[in-house]
Symmetry: C2
Subunit: 168 residues, 2 copies
């Protein structure tokens, strides 16, 4: 399998998980949060899947295709390790679907980032809200959901937030 | 259709055309020429498809994944508008399969580049040799081949070099 093959497989897994997540939140009020804009492809996909939601986007420095730049009022500019704690005021418990895929191309770097960022995402997710990610995220308030049929286990990750603490 | 959808479709068309081209040159001696390395995904695909061929790569500045950097002796470093005329000494009429996909994301820029580069690629292609490209290339010595069934017309391009001048 070439890098071209595995890249196509990864993008298809990403798309299938986002499509399923959008379907699963159809009856769940709340915003969408894209953690990293990049070239804007997944942002564009999310806003088309959920046209009636606000899609907030965290990004350090916008370098997306001009058609895929979010409106200023939905753009959270800066390092997300700094901005997510501030965004809590606006978004705490109000995000129905978050997507985190740093795609650093370096598994160790992605793991290190996710360890820092996951605890900052959690307070924003509403109970029952979904988190779609690559790499995996381990957190006591996240339960793993079944992946779309086309996606092999371990290729992409889909979670639902449950509130362990309040039910304990 | 989102930008994620169209990107996946484009990569699948690219792969299908490279796969078909590799099949079509199976009985045709000659090297492979990748015009632009980028992140190295299509280079990796080509070297896996045609493991017994030399895969030469033109690139201005190598920024590929470390696993996808060609050996020094197959790397033609510099602006291809400068290096292709020099490469003629080594490769004239010896390339069985060339791939050109600048993927600038800007159709006008890609068209301008292809107009400059196509006449420099032609002398390297052996008679019967294949050229896989996006965008389209118009040249009197190129005939258009039928695309793979999965690829819609106009999405990617596949040509065979014929020698109009010598047969005239």
């Amino acid at each position: 399998m070439s890098r071209l093959d595995s890249f196509i497989r990864r993008l298809k897994a990403q798309r299938a998980c986002l499509d399923l997540a959008a379907h699963l939140v159809r009856d769940l009020d709340g915003h969408v949060l894209e953690l990293g804009l990049g070239n804007g492809r997944t942002y564009d996909h999310l806003r088309q899947l959920l046209p009636d939601r606000k899609v907030y986007v965290c990004e350090r420095r916008v370098a997306a295709h001009p058609d895929c730049v979010p409106p200023t009022e939905l753009l959270i500019l800066g390092d997300m390790r700094d901005t997510l704690p501030i965004a809590r005021e606006l978004l705490a418990g109000r995000v129905a679907l978050a997507h985190f895929d740093p795609a650093t191309g370096d598994a160790a770097a992605s793991q290190a980032l996710v360890a820092e960022v996951a605890p900052l995402i959690m307070p924003l997710l509403r109970p029952g809200g979904l988190l779609v990610s690559e790499p995996a995220i381990i957190h006591e308030e996240l339960i793993t959901l079944t992946l779309p049929e086309s996606v092999a286990p371990g290729r992409y990750y889909l979670y639902r937030r449950v509130n362990c603490r309040s039910s304990a």
